[in-house]
Amino acid sequence: MKLRVLFTALVLHTALASAQKLTFVPQWTPQSQFAGFYVAKEKGFYSDEGIDVVIRHVTANSNETPMDILLSGGAQIVGQQLFQSIQHRSGGDRIVNVMQLTHKNGLCCVGRGPVASFKDLDGKRVCKWLIGYAEICEMLEKMENVNIDWQPCFSLVNLYVSGAVDASLCYSYSELLQLDLAMGGIPEENIIRFSDYPTLNIPEDGLYVTEQYYKANRETVEKFVRASRRGWDYAREHIDEALEISWKYMMENNIVTNHTQERRMLEEYLSLQVNPRTGKPDYAPVSQEGFKAIVAGMLDKGAIQNSVEYKDFVK
């Protein structure tokens, strides 16, 4: 009997000790764009996999990106766009893609008036985020042979509303919705969508870990990915609950937002998860051919100097 009690205690101790702690940093401050991760955390999907996940966010007025945090060891897994991640890998940062969240590019350019193409923005002042996007902007200028006066800033929306810029870069699931709510509607003729340009329609959000961490903790990463997918599946089926859970994270971080904005954001984001090949949402990695085309395009437009191999990058 005493032996059995001792054995049970030993198993329990081992299980607790093996619940590996993991810090995850999404791309931005709390918002419903990350609902699937909040759901996985709050519904205990991570715990079910035996991992203890801490979700940490960047701050709005900080220059520090999730990739900076990952590379400095402040997090084990981060959310990042494919374009920037390829740039990092090409630049020598040994990171790998362990999950792809979206299949479509959500970037847009919103003019203060009608804009038929990027050529209409030639010589115009267009605001963009302070951090990142420099290369994709350059790539766009080369591709369309235009010269745009890019204005980096923290708040695209306020800059646009104030009239200080002619157009603004934005995401269809974020700033575009904010602008829509701020201006009382944005006509579709004022919007250029990157997804309409094959070279620019680069899938966006994915999960990234360092190659070193992946090799050492592959099982843990797979557990995180599995639980996160479960979280997203649940969020898709229970949008109201997912929004409620996300709202809690936003309020804890004093995010000034509103329910309408967050609902529209989640709905738009879930639409980006629909695989154009199947018409159904999935988390399939970027195809090898697609990846090669993206890298070739980035090399061609000078967004990267060194090629990135699919098998090294996509896990």
């Binding site: 302070l130 306020n158 200080a164 709510l181 701020a182 201006m183 009382g184 509103n258 309408t260």
Partner: protein
């Protein structure tokens, strides 16, 4: 179907309905007009309130704008003295209670080799102490903050969109920024003042024209700046709130406000029809006051309700008044009705109700009175007439009896003669006659028909019959008999009446017949073998037309077993309802068929039955006389 309601009730109901309708229309028009006026007044009042608050807010904003502009001028004199610049920001915050922070954010490289230089002072939210520091570092790159970037790009002062200050005591803030340029027109710095706008929510929450009224301010991006329950809508724009509520009208109001318009619009607030007055502030913000029409019109609606209540009571009283007044006024009509019923039942002397006014009812009473009098007279007259008629009828009956007794009713029973006669007057008394008598073995007989009917004809018939009996009894030839009768009745015949008459004398022993026809129908002779024929006659005038007319007689030899059928025109001119007459042919036909009827009486009755069968019950229009002589 007739209503059982009384006249007074129906008239009162009609008056009530009509008055109610008029009243309702009046109330409706008054309500619509007053509601419109009050709604317009409420809109004016709300607009005035809005303008007052906007002015107050603008005054405060203008104070800050002036302070920042003054500071922007002063810094140019202190560019070489960092401490003085720090001091200026510190003094700005300390001397302006509304300013919670102040910065002079210099351009990149203002100090050679330094990226950031921005003296900044702020009021500590807990201790109220004014603290000073250098703003800007790698994690707070102010060059890309709205308050620096936007005025720099716009090259003009700028009120930032409201933001939640996480570091400054969880306050809702806005920043006023003025770009400052150096001599060569390059951006030197951006001078700012932070304004806590929590007080705005306090200010607007006090503006409540009505219980459920709201005032709110929104920024250029539609975000709520100030609202009574700001916490509930923090982070919302007017559009997001409108979308969440599914309220397109509110979204349209937001669009007008963001575009800096001033005006009024209706919308549904929580399911209640409301209006919002809105107007812009100089810095691009916009404010609005919403009011629910139900509340605006509450007092008027109450007043209308009271008015309707008073009217309802008034109408009820009016109904009662009408009802009882009309009932009183029309009560004589009821009495008249009873009186009329009594009169109709024969009580012609029923007392009519008293009525002293000479109005319609008074006239009705006079008419009633006249009617009653007339009825009385008429009834009296009727009684007299009836009495006279009864008397006359009685006399006629007597006359009929006399007339009927004037003709023989006893018929001789002899072997050599069977005679029977019958007379059926069309009225009580008739103008036909028949007579016969036997004297010295001879049968004297006559059948006549006086022109006209009734009493005068019966009188003439009586005279003629008496004359026949007397004159024929003298044993004179038949032409003389008729001549004398003619002379006798023509004398003094002023009435112009006449009589057709057939007279004859049958020698019962020989069958010799002497006869004379004074304008009468031809008689029928039926021979022993049963063959009927009209007797050949020499025409003579009727008796009574011309005195001294020479009548001519004729003679006939009757074989034993012959039959004479005498009649008046009541037989041959008997009519059916279709005016078809019995006629001579039918008579001859009957005579042939009736030859086998041996009894004179039976034959006479059979002829009468034949005539009645022919007329089919049609009213007898002439006297009928039949005489059958079987020789």
């Amino acid at each position: 179907m007739t209503s059982s309601k009384s006249f007074s009730k129906r008239l009162s109901m009609f008056v009530l309905l009509f008055t109610s309708l008029l009243f309702l229309i009046s109330i409706f028009i008054a309500a619509v007009s007053s509601h419109k006026l009050i709604a317009e007044e409420a809109t004016r009042s709300a607009t005035n309130m809005l303008d007052a608050v906007n002015n107050e807010v603008q005054r405060k904003l203008q104070d800050i704008e002036s302070s920042v502009r003054n500071l922007s001028w002063v810094i140019k004199d202190n560019l070489d003295d960092d401490q003085a610049l720090y001091h200026l920001t510190e003094r700005m915050v300390r001397e302006n209670a509304d300013i919670s922070g102040c910065a002079i954010a210099f351009r990149d490289g203002f100090h050679e080799g330094e990226h950031f230089f921005s003296p900044y002072s702020y009021r500590d939210a807990d201790t109220e102490a004014v603290l000073t520091m250098q703003l800007g570092n790698d994690s707070y790159d102010y060059f890309f903050m709205d308050w620096y970037l936007i005025p720099s790009l716009l090259k003009k002062p700028y009120w930032s969109e409201p933001y939640f200050d996480e570091g400054g005591g969880q306050q809702f803030m806005t920043t006023y920024s003025v770009p400052v340029y150096d001599a060569d027109d390059s951006l030197l710095a951006v001078v700012t003042a932070d304004l806590n706008i929590d007080w705005l929510s306090e200010t607007v929450s006090q503006i409540k024209p009505y219980g459920n009224s709201h005032m709110f301010l929104i920024g250029r991006n539609g975000q709520f700046l100030a609202l009574e329950n700001m916490d509930a809508l923090k982070g919302n724009s007017i559009y997001s709130a409108a979308l969440q509520m599914g309220n397109d009208e509110l979204a349209e109001i937001g669009r007008c406000m963001v575009h800096g318009e001033k005006g009024m619009k209706r919308f549904m607030d929580d399911g209640k029809l409301s209006f919002a007055v809105y107007g812009p502030l100089d810095n691009g913000w916009s404010s609005a006051i919403t009011c629910q029409y139900k509340e605006v019109l509450e007092r008027t609606s109450k007043m209308h309700l009271i008015l309707i209540l008073i009217a309802a009571i008034g109408l009820f009283i009016l109904f009662l008044l009408c009802y009882f007044t009309i009932r009183k006024l029309t009560s004589p009509l009821v009495e008249f009705s009873h009186a009329a019923k009594n009169i109709a039942q024969g009580n012609f002397n029923t007392r009519l109700p008293n009525y002293r006014y000479d109005d319609e009812i008074g006239k009705l009473r006079s008419s009633f009175e006249y009617m009653q009098k007339s009825l009385n007279e008429y009834i009296q007259e009727l009684k007299t007439t009836t009495s006279e008629k009864q008397r006359f009828e009685s006399e006629l009956n007597i006359a009929r009896s006399i007339q009927m007794h004037m003709v023989p009713h006893t018929f001789p029973k002899r072997d050599d003669l069977d005679i029977y006669a019958m007379m059926q007057p069309a009225r009580e008394v008739g103008g036909d006659l028949y007579d016969f008598f036997i004297k010295d073995g001879k049968l004297y007989f006559a059948v006549g028909d006086v022109s006209g009917k009734g009493v005068p004809a019966s009188m003439f018939m009586a005279i003629t019959r008496s004359a026949f009996r007397f004159i024929a009894g003298l044993g004179l030839p038949m032409d003389e008999v008729l001549s004398k009768i003619n002379d006798s009745v023509s004398d003094g015949n002023d009435s112009g009446m006449f009589v057709t008459m057939f007279t004859g004398c049958l020698d019962l022993a020989t069958g010799h017949v002497e006869y004379c026809n004074g304008g009468h129908n031809r008689i029928v002779v039926v021979t022993p073998d049963g063959s009927p024929s009209f007797l050949d006659e020499t025409p003579n005038l009727a008796i009574g037309l011309f005195e001294g007319f020479p009548f001519r007689k004729q003679q006939l030899e009757l074989a034993r077993g012959s039959r004479l059928v005498l009649y008046t025109d009541g037989v041959t001119e008997a009519e059916t309802a279709e005016k078809s007459q019995y006629g001579d042919a039918a008579l001859l036909d009957w005579a042939g068929k009736a030859a086998g009827i041996t009894s004179a009486r039976d034959a006479a009755e059979d002829l009468m039955a034949s005539v009645r069968t022919f007329t089919g019950g049609n009213e007898q229009n002439d006297d009928i006389t039949i005489m059958i002589i079987n020789f």
